[in-house]
Point group: C2
Chain length 225, copies 2
Amino acid sequence: MKDKSNSPAAPAASAASPVLKVSKASQRKAQLHEDLIACATRRIAAHGAHGLRARDLASDAGCSVGAIYNVFEDLEALILHVSLQTLGAIDEVMAANARERAACSQEEILTGLAERYCDFVVQNTHSWRSLFEHALPEGVELPDWIIEKQISLLGHVRRPLAQLMPTASDEKINSTARLLFSAVHGVVNLAVDQRTVGLALDEVKRELRFLVQMFVAGVEKGRAE
Amino acid sequence: MKDKSNSPAAPAASAASPVLKVSKASQRKAQLHEDLIACATRRIAAHGAHGLRARDLASDAGCSVGAIYNVFEDLEALILHVSLQTLGAIDEVMAANARERAACSQEEILTGLAERYCDFVVQNTHSWRSLFEHALPEGVELPDWIIEKQISLLGHVRRPLAQLMPTASDEKINSTARLLFSAVHGVVNLAVDQRTVGLALDEVKRELRFLVQMFVAGVEKGRAE
DNA sequence: AAAAATATTGAACGATGTTCATTTTTTGTG
DNA sequence: CACAAAAAATGAACATCGTTCAATATTTTT
């Protein structure tokens, strides 16, 4: 037993560095690591994190159940690696919004972010839900490489907000970015869960735009006074 | 086996109607029904819905594990009855806000609601989380008596909103109430879960006020134009 | 080629929700 | 009250999980 893969996709000692030993064993291990994440990603996308069963996974990846635990600490750790990929996909979607709306108003950039987040959640509900459904056990922290990805997401909200609130401190911009992300997240969350207190799926995007527009208008109104 | 208690707290054929038979058996059943909800409420409050185990519950209530399934369809159904109580508690908190701030501005009523919801969630995290953590199985609907309670909660948001948006249709008021509730819910949710993208617990209420104030200001600005 | 180190395996373990044949209690009736 | 039928309560047994670990197979080193 070596590292149980606490860090994600270590580049597997790329072929360009022949000094580092890429033994047959560690190659197989790296391959299994990759395969398991791929299989888990598919299963989570199809049935949610709850539907990820060790025996099914072993069957999919063509290994024994025990092998999973040689590569990952437990299933939860494997799910975290899938989460990193999901976060990456969300980051891409948000980055695309920033590119396509680079010339637009800050309000339009923010409404675009909300709509894109909503679209992603509707199209990738299970994967997205697995990002949030597990309340981590008392005292257990998320690994750094997950936290960094999440901070990166917030950057997409922080940048247009900084333009909208030119006199605000970095701390205020930061907390407002978290506020706005959380609010949009909540609206999408209760909607895709089809909760009674949430919105119907066919009104979510319209109402999300309304939320962001009213919030931005309120901020601008305060600035004008 | 009779009804498995699909409806909540049927008044157990109150003593005032001697025609309806209150047999010794049905009395015991009603008592167990009550006891199980009480024990489940305590356990969920202490350890969350995940920590509700059939064997522990039977031990607490002084019955066999099988007895639980004579009274409730499954543990999920029992959790729903606990949810009704939790929703009732939230309703009370929101109603208290309406009473205490009856003479305040609509903005203050709405910020008060957000703050009270936040306080409740912080103080009753486990019970509150069990309201939302289970995504119901495909095609399974919540029972009417839960949906009614949730609609009742929305009323507390709808009423001040109706004052703020006098020209809006009932549908618009309704969807805006869901929007605002969902947004506040999301902010509180990510905060109590201590998520990276959420707010820290010591800034939540301040930022919630900011969110509601900016939203209300935006709505009023739009009305003025 | 043999030995040491390492990795893989899958049966077994401990929980868990749920069931159901058996036992106990309650109810209806002569 | 006695006694049979009906109803309810019981808890051992079952199916299904995640996880472990002694036994086996493989790889690496000597």
